[in-house]
Protein backbone atom coordinates (compact mmCIF):
# COMPACT_ATOMS: atom_id res chain seq x y z
CA UNK A 1 0.00 0.00 0.00
CA UNK A 2 1.24 3.45 -0.90
CA UNK A 3 -0.39 6.74 -0.09
CA UNK A 4 0.43 9.85 -2.07
CA UNK A 5 -0.78 13.12 -0.56
CA UNK A 6 -1.13 16.33 -2.52
CA UNK A 7 -2.31 19.72 -1.27
CA UNK A 8 -4.65 21.84 -3.31
CA UNK A 9 -5.51 25.05 -1.46
CA UNK A 10 -7.38 24.01 1.69
CA UNK A 11 -8.01 20.47 0.46
CA UNK A 12 -5.92 17.35 0.79
CA UNK A 13 -5.92 14.78 -1.99
CA UNK A 14 -4.89 11.28 -0.88
CA UNK A 15 -4.22 8.74 -3.64
CA UNK A 16 -4.23 5.15 -2.42
CA UNK A 17 -2.36 2.45 -4.28
CA UNK A 18 -2.43 -1.28 -3.50
CA UNK A 19 -4.33 -3.10 -0.77
CA UNK A 20 -6.16 -1.47 2.13
CA UNK A 21 -6.61 -4.01 4.92
CA UNK A 22 -5.95 -4.29 8.66
CA UNK A 23 -2.20 -4.59 8.02
CA UNK A 24 -1.95 -1.46 5.85
CA UNK A 25 -4.65 0.72 7.45
CA UNK A 26 -2.15 2.27 9.90
CA UNK A 27 -0.05 3.55 7.03
CA UNK A 28 -3.06 5.21 5.44
CA UNK A 29 -4.17 6.68 8.78
CA UNK A 30 -0.74 8.13 9.58
CA UNK A 31 -0.17 9.61 6.13
CA UNK A 32 -3.53 11.39 6.11
CA UNK A 33 -3.69 12.41 9.79
CA UNK A 34 -0.24 14.01 9.59
CA UNK A 35 -1.69 16.45 7.05
CA UNK A 36 -5.08 16.83 8.72
CA UNK A 37 -3.30 18.13 11.83
CA UNK A 38 -2.40 21.26 9.88
CA UNK A 39 -4.92 23.98 10.48
CA UNK A 40 -4.94 25.07 6.84
CA UNK A 41 -6.23 21.66 5.69
CA UNK A 42 -10.01 21.53 5.68
CA UNK A 43 -11.28 18.98 3.17
CA UNK A 44 -10.25 15.51 2.03
CA UNK A 45 -10.46 13.90 -1.42
CA UNK A 46 -9.83 10.14 -1.36
CA UNK A 47 -8.77 8.79 -4.73
CA UNK A 48 -9.27 5.01 -4.68
CA UNK A 49 -8.62 4.43 -8.38
CA UNK A 50 -5.49 2.35 -7.82
CA UNK A 51 -6.80 0.39 -4.87
CA UNK A 52 -6.62 -3.30 -5.76
CA UNK A 53 -8.21 -4.64 -2.57
CA UNK A 54 -10.22 -3.42 0.40
CA UNK A 55 -12.09 -5.06 3.29
CA UNK A 56 -13.93 -3.89 6.42
CA UNK A 57 -10.68 -2.54 7.88
CA UNK A 58 -10.80 -0.02 5.03
CA UNK A 59 -14.34 0.96 5.99
CA UNK A 60 -13.18 1.64 9.55
CA UNK A 61 -10.14 3.59 8.39
CA UNK A 62 -12.13 5.77 5.97
CA UNK A 63 -14.79 6.42 8.63
CA UNK A 64 -12.03 7.42 11.05
CA UNK A 65 -10.71 10.05 8.61
CA UNK A 66 -14.27 11.20 7.91
CA UNK A 67 -14.75 11.88 11.64
CA UNK A 68 -11.48 13.84 11.82
CA UNK A 69 -12.48 16.04 8.90
CA UNK A 70 -15.99 16.57 10.31
CA UNK A 71 -14.46 17.78 13.60
CA UNK A 72 -12.65 20.43 11.59
CA UNK A 73 -15.84 21.41 9.80
CA UNK A 74 -14.59 20.12 6.45
CA UNK A 75 -15.90 17.69 3.84
CA UNK A 76 -14.82 14.34 2.44
CA UNK A 77 -15.39 13.08 -1.10
CA UNK A 78 -14.33 9.80 -2.71
CA UNK A 79 -13.45 9.13 -6.34
CA UNK A 80 -12.35 6.31 -8.60
CA UNK A 81 -13.80 3.38 -6.69
CA UNK A 82 -14.38 0.01 -8.35
CA UNK A 83 -17.74 -1.74 -8.24
CA UNK A 84 -16.45 -3.97 -5.46
CA UNK A 85 -15.18 -1.09 -3.31
CA UNK A 86 -18.46 0.73 -3.85
CA UNK A 87 -20.35 -2.31 -2.56
CA UNK A 88 -18.19 -2.29 0.57
CA UNK A 89 -18.77 1.43 1.10
CA UNK A 90 -22.48 0.82 0.74
CA UNK A 91 -22.53 -2.07 3.24
CA UNK A 92 -20.57 0.08 5.69
CA UNK A 93 -23.10 2.93 5.34
CA UNK A 94 -20.47 5.30 3.93
CA UNK A 95 -22.36 6.04 0.70
CA UNK A 96 -24.99 7.79 2.79
CA UNK A 97 -22.51 10.28 4.22
CA UNK A 98 -19.73 10.60 1.62
CA UNK A 99 -20.37 11.71 -1.98
CA UNK A 100 -18.71 9.59 -4.68
CA UNK A 101 -17.40 10.95 -8.00
CA UNK A 102 -16.10 9.02 -10.97
CA UNK A 103 -12.77 10.82 -11.30
CA UNK A 104 -10.45 13.04 -9.32
CA UNK A 105 -10.93 16.22 -11.31
CA UNK A 106 -14.70 16.27 -10.80
CA UNK A 107 -14.26 15.42 -7.10
CA UNK A 108 -11.77 18.26 -6.65
CA UNK A 109 -13.93 20.66 -8.65
CA UNK A 110 -16.89 19.82 -6.42
CA UNK A 111 -15.03 20.34 -3.17
CA UNK A 112 -13.44 23.59 -4.40
CA UNK A 113 -16.77 25.01 -5.52
CA UNK A 114 -18.29 24.63 -2.07
CA UNK A 115 -15.40 25.81 0.07
Amino acid sequence: MRVQVVRKKNSLIARLKGELDHHTAALFREAVDRELKKESVQNLVLNLQNLTFMDSSGIGAILGRYNRVKEKGGRVVICGCSKHVKKLLQLGGLLKIIPVYSDESSAVAEIMSKS
Binding site: D21, H22, M54, S56, H84, G92
Partner: protein, 148 residues
Protein backbone atom coordinates in the same frame (compact mmCIF):
# COMPACT_ATOMS: atom_id res chain seq x y z
CA UNK B 1 -14.43 -32.05 -10.86
CA UNK B 2 -13.20 -34.50 -8.22
CA UNK B 3 -12.89 -33.33 -4.64
CA UNK B 4 -9.66 -31.44 -4.01
CA UNK B 5 -8.37 -29.60 -0.97
CA UNK B 6 -5.65 -27.35 0.45
CA UNK B 7 -4.44 -26.66 3.97
CA UNK B 8 -2.49 -23.58 5.00
CA UNK B 9 -1.04 -22.82 8.42
CA UNK B 10 0.42 -19.41 9.20
CA UNK B 11 1.44 -17.40 12.27
CA UNK B 12 -1.30 -14.95 13.24
CA UNK B 13 0.57 -11.91 11.96
CA UNK B 14 -1.10 -9.08 10.10
CA UNK B 15 1.46 -9.21 7.29
CA UNK B 16 0.06 -12.68 6.43
CA UNK B 17 -3.50 -11.43 5.75
CA UNK B 18 -2.76 -10.68 2.12
CA UNK B 19 -0.93 -13.99 1.56
CA UNK B 20 -3.83 -15.97 3.06
CA UNK B 21 -6.60 -14.44 0.92
CA UNK B 22 -4.53 -14.52 -2.27
CA UNK B 23 -3.68 -18.21 -1.71
CA UNK B 24 -7.32 -19.24 -1.24
CA UNK B 25 -8.29 -17.19 -4.30
CA UNK B 26 -5.57 -18.92 -6.35
CA UNK B 27 -6.94 -22.30 -5.26
CA UNK B 28 -10.44 -21.20 -6.33
CA UNK B 29 -9.19 -20.28 -9.81
CA UNK B 30 -9.83 -23.86 -11.00
CA UNK B 31 -13.57 -23.25 -10.48
CA UNK B 32 -13.43 -20.61 -13.20
CA UNK B 33 -14.87 -17.85 -11.00
CA UNK B 34 -15.82 -14.41 -12.27
CA UNK B 35 -13.69 -11.49 -11.11
CA UNK B 36 -16.54 -10.40 -8.85
CA UNK B 37 -16.83 -13.83 -7.23
CA UNK B 38 -13.09 -13.91 -6.67
CA UNK B 39 -13.16 -10.47 -5.02
CA UNK B 40 -15.99 -11.61 -2.78
CA UNK B 41 -14.15 -14.76 -1.74
CA UNK B 42 -10.93 -12.84 -1.09
CA UNK B 43 -12.72 -10.27 1.03
CA UNK B 44 -14.60 -12.85 3.11
CA UNK B 45 -11.39 -14.81 3.76
CA UNK B 46 -9.63 -11.58 4.65
CA UNK B 47 -12.32 -10.79 7.23
CA UNK B 48 -12.10 -14.18 8.92
CA UNK B 49 -8.29 -14.25 8.95
CA UNK B 50 -8.07 -10.67 10.22
CA UNK B 51 -10.43 -11.56 13.05
CA UNK B 52 -8.15 -14.40 14.17
CA UNK B 53 -5.17 -12.06 14.18
CA UNK B 54 -6.90 -9.10 15.78
CA UNK B 55 -9.43 -10.64 18.15
CA UNK B 56 -8.50 -14.25 18.91
CA UNK B 57 -5.00 -13.69 20.22
CA UNK B 58 -3.64 -11.09 22.61
CA UNK B 59 -0.83 -9.82 20.42
CA UNK B 60 0.23 -9.89 16.79
CA UNK B 61 2.07 -13.12 15.98
CA UNK B 62 1.09 -14.95 19.16
CA UNK B 63 -0.87 -17.87 17.72
CA UNK B 64 -1.58 -19.81 14.57
CA UNK B 65 -4.29 -19.52 11.89
CA UNK B 66 -5.24 -22.66 9.98
CA UNK B 67 -7.14 -22.54 6.73
CA UNK B 68 -8.64 -25.51 4.96
CA UNK B 69 -10.40 -25.15 1.63
CA UNK B 70 -12.23 -27.93 -0.20
CA UNK B 71 -13.51 -27.71 -3.76
CA UNK B 72 -15.92 -30.04 -5.47
CA UNK B 73 -17.74 -29.28 -8.71
CA UNK B 74 -18.42 -25.56 -8.54
CA UNK B 75 -18.46 -25.23 -4.80
CA UNK B 76 -15.80 -24.16 -2.32
CA UNK B 77 -15.99 -24.70 1.41
CA UNK B 78 -13.38 -22.82 3.42
CA UNK B 79 -12.71 -23.14 7.14
CA UNK B 80 -10.67 -20.63 9.11
CA UNK B 81 -9.53 -21.84 12.47
CA UNK B 82 -7.84 -20.26 15.49
CA UNK B 83 -7.02 -21.45 19.01
CA UNK B 84 -7.56 -18.09 20.64
CA UNK B 85 -9.92 -16.64 23.19
CA UNK B 86 -13.17 -17.69 21.47
CA UNK B 87 -16.45 -15.78 21.19
CA UNK B 88 -18.80 -15.61 24.20
CA UNK B 89 -21.87 -14.29 22.40
CA UNK B 90 -21.87 -15.34 18.74
CA UNK B 91 -25.23 -13.75 17.88
CA UNK B 92 -24.04 -10.37 19.14
CA UNK B 93 -20.67 -10.72 17.38
CA UNK B 94 -22.49 -11.32 14.07
CA UNK B 95 -24.64 -8.19 14.38
CA UNK B 96 -23.79 -5.48 11.83
CA UNK B 97 -21.62 -2.72 13.37
CA UNK B 98 -20.86 -4.69 16.53
CA UNK B 99 -17.20 -4.48 17.51
CA UNK B 100 -15.44 -4.77 20.85
CA UNK B 101 -12.56 -2.66 19.54
CA UNK B 102 -14.04 0.69 18.41
CA UNK B 103 -10.88 2.43 19.67
CA UNK B 104 -8.95 0.66 16.89
CA UNK B 105 -11.30 2.07 14.25
CA UNK B 106 -12.92 -1.31 13.67
CA UNK B 107 -16.13 -1.02 11.68
CA UNK B 108 -17.83 -4.12 13.08
CA UNK B 109 -18.73 -5.13 9.51
CA UNK B 110 -16.57 -8.25 9.20
CA UNK B 111 -19.29 -10.85 9.75
CA UNK B 112 -21.80 -8.85 7.70
CA UNK B 113 -19.38 -8.86 4.77
CA UNK B 114 -18.74 -12.60 5.10
CA UNK B 115 -22.52 -13.20 5.08
CA UNK B 116 -23.05 -10.93 2.07
CA UNK B 117 -20.23 -12.35 -0.03
CA UNK B 118 -20.55 -16.06 0.75
CA UNK B 119 -23.58 -18.35 0.46
CA UNK B 120 -23.31 -19.82 3.95
CA UNK B 121 -21.39 -18.77 7.06
CA UNK B 122 -21.36 -20.75 10.29
CA UNK B 123 -19.47 -19.94 13.47
CA UNK B 124 -18.35 -22.51 16.04
CA UNK B 125 -16.58 -21.18 19.07
CA UNK B 126 -15.66 -22.24 22.58
CA UNK B 127 -14.54 -19.49 24.93
CA UNK B 128 -10.90 -20.09 25.89
CA UNK B 129 -10.42 -22.72 23.20
CA UNK B 130 -10.85 -21.06 19.84
CA UNK B 131 -13.10 -20.40 16.87
CA UNK B 132 -13.86 -22.02 13.51
CA UNK B 133 -15.54 -20.04 10.74
CA UNK B 134 -16.95 -22.23 7.98
CA UNK B 135 -18.08 -20.57 4.76
CA UNK B 136 -19.20 -21.90 1.41
CA UNK B 137 -19.70 -20.41 -2.01
CA UNK B 138 -21.06 -21.80 -5.25
CA UNK B 139 -19.32 -20.36 -8.31
CA UNK B 140 -21.17 -19.73 -11.53
CA UNK B 141 -18.27 -20.73 -13.80
CA UNK B 142 -18.50 -23.62 -16.22
CA UNK B 143 -15.97 -26.10 -14.92
CA UNK B 144 -14.90 -28.63 -17.51
CA UNK B 145 -15.40 -31.91 -15.69
CA UNK B 146 -13.14 -33.81 -18.07
CA UNK B 147 -10.09 -31.68 -17.43
CA UNK B 148 -7.46 -33.19 -15.11
Amino acid sequence: MLMNYMVLEIPARSENESFARVTVAAFAARLDPTLEELNELKTAVSEAVTNCILHAYHSDGEGVVRIRAVVEDKKMVVEIHDEGKGIEDIARAREPLYTDKPELERSGMGFTIMENFMDEVSVHSSPGRGTVIKMSKLFSGTVNKNSH
